[in-house]
């Protein structure tokens, strides 16, 4: 079943692309969107395996991941807006006080 391998590989590549986006980009909002991309890659893997075994539980788990991602964004966006208001920038290089 070549589809399964294609989709799991696509999920792995999406996850890796999201990870490199979080590491490489400077804008905090873009980093947040790259985290969403990582979640999407994992979701794709989960759906593929659930479809393969015919387990409905996988769909339930993916639905819960959707809701948790929505809650995460609902918290993260106000924090980002406060950061942008405090420092006038979303550049993560500007928030380096904890660097030793």
């Amino acid at each position: 079943m070549a589809d399964t391998e294609l989709l799991v590989g696509l999920g792995a590549v999406l996850y890796a692309a999201g990870l490199v986006g979080v590491m490489v980009r400077r804008n905090a909002l873009v980093m947040l969107m790259c985290m969403e991309l990582m979640l999407n890659g994992v979701n794709l893997t989960l759906v593929t395996f659930a479809r393969q075994t015919g387990a409905t539980e996988g769909a339930v788990l993916v639905f819960l991941v959707f809701v948790v991602a929505a809650a995460e964004v609902a918290i993260a966006i106000p924090i980002l807006l406060l950061l942008a208001r405090a420092r006038r920038t979303l550049d993560v290089e500007a928030y380096a006080e904890l660097k030793g």
């Binding site: 589809d3 399964t4 990870l19 999407n40 759906v47 993916v62 809701v67 942008a84 006038r88 979303l90």
Partner: protein
């Protein structure tokens, strides 16, 4: 046959969207690339027969999360220095890490046992999904609603603390 073609098409679009996310300069273009990726993932879910998740992917991710994100991008000042310089100093190690991680994952996929191949699994629609969800996993459903309420309360608290501090 046409389903296989569509599957490859959606996979290619998702891949292109994720690469475009990495190199686009303006956050709005990043958001649009992410929306493209999510919509093509919804197409893949629909092709797999998991229509419930395709609908939820469009409704929750594209409809709620990304609209929220686009709205916030519109609120933020465009002359931000983070908009001008795309990449931090981690660019080269980040690219190396991406290539390494993708290679390791795809190598593990290639080396691993191939699929058990129960391709005859029935596509599950709304009814089996909701029966399982609300009969066996009702506790998680309730916990998720508690989580959403907590998220709303926390967002209001964060905004209130910020306005008190900055006037």
């Amino acid at each position: 046959m046409i389903e296989t073609g569509l599957m490859y098409f959606f996979a290619a679009v998702a891949l292109g969207g994720s690469i475009a996310m990495l190199i686009a300069r303006h956050p709005m273009r990043v958001a649009l690339a992410l929306i493209t990726t999510m919509l093509s993932l919804a197409g893949i879910y629909a092709l797999l027969g998991v229509h419930v998740l395709a609908v939820f992917q469009v409704l929750i991710y594209v409809g709620a999360v990304m609209v929220f994100m686009v709205y916030v991008i519109l609120l933020i000042d465009v002359r931000d220095s983070a908009f001008a310089q795309r990449f931090s100093w981690l660019l080269v190690p980040g690219i190396a890490g991406f290539v390494g991680l993708a290679a390791i994952l795809c190598f593990a996929l290639w080396r691993g046992d191939s699929a058990p191949g129960s391709a005859a699994a029935p596509p599950f629609g709304v009814r089996p999904f909701s029966e399982v969800f609300l009969n066996e996993y009702w506790l998680y459903f309730e916990l998720v609603s508690v989580l959403l309420v907590a998220a709303v309360v926390a967002a209001i608290a964060v905004v209130k603390i910020g306005t008190r501090r900055h006037g």
